[in-house]
Subunit: 201 residues, 2 copies
Amino acid sequence: MSSLSPPVNRLITELSRLPGVGQRTAQRLAFHILRLPPEEALPLAEAIREVKEKVGQCEVCFNLAVGPRCRICEDERRDPSLICVVEEPSDILPIERTNEFNGRYHVLGGALSPIDGVDPEDIRIPELLERVAAGGVREVVVATNSTTTGEATALYIAEQMRERSPNVAVTRLASGLPVGADLEYADEITLGRALRARREL
Amino acid sequence: MSSLSPPVNRLITELSRLPGVGQRTAQRLAFHILRLPPEEALPLAEAIREVKEKVGQCEVCFNLAVGPRCRICEDERRDPSLICVVEEPSDILPIERTNEFNGRYHVLGGALSPIDGVDPEDIRIPELLERVAAGGVREVVVATNSTTTGEATALYIAEQMRERSPNVAVTRLASGLPVGADLEYADEITLGRALRARREL
């Protein structure tokens, strides 16, 4: 690509580091940015700088936060006795969209994975146990992913909670058929769980 | 999305302005950038700023250039008597990849489209005619896209050239390019063949 100047090549390289962005897409995005007037291109650069400068972690729940606490922990209307445990800050968004949850969160920052060397203390499980032990919590909803590592993390948390805070309920998101899904295309494991968890109509 | 802080929302908004990036993809990219350490995220912001600050237009061919001339116009080994006319700077890249072209370029900055109000003087056709009339050019290869507007542009250029510089050959990339396709996405082999088999207009 000797026909491109170094600044253009640098932009393509940086764009291609983004997830799901290959060389061709990075080129397409770069030429788009090159075509934009500066007042339309620079706000993206500024937005990247701004999040890196201003966005840190909530000191209570480890969600993204501008300042010491995230918007959810700062919201007095959110029930502090109900804590939803998620793997990543991005997992909070889909839960918020349901409008079904009015508690607070706890972001683990990953899931247990002994083969990858991810132990309980690497993913803020001690912080969760401490937070619950401090009192005022009646239920912990474990909303880790429904993957092997997410399930293992949920089981480990349930075990630890039973030991240290036996009066706090630990629940897990129900597994079952996605709404609108065809039975014909459901995998055996999902369908098996949906059957075991069947409820009276 | 009230659970996200304004800087995060701004980043998602700016990312979603990129072509082919919807709301969900913008969110995914934003959370990726949020997870990166500053030293990995800031180079992207810097690369965007840098292209906007440093990259302008070549005064000869209107390709992207750092300084007055692009790297191709500055390269003494490139044949100045052979000019390839393209719509956009991004069209130069796939032609360079074929290694079949050793001439210079002329970037129109679009294609003729009377219904959209794009006339010859809006897309640097006068600059092309002047450049050719100044002498030293033996052939102009018109490599506009093989779309309606690209074809119309090619025919118009051929007509004007016959009138003003009748001794300069005007050629067109051979068909072999799928009709309706954008040059930017053509593979090297097809494009290389199309170049070798270019025909007189």
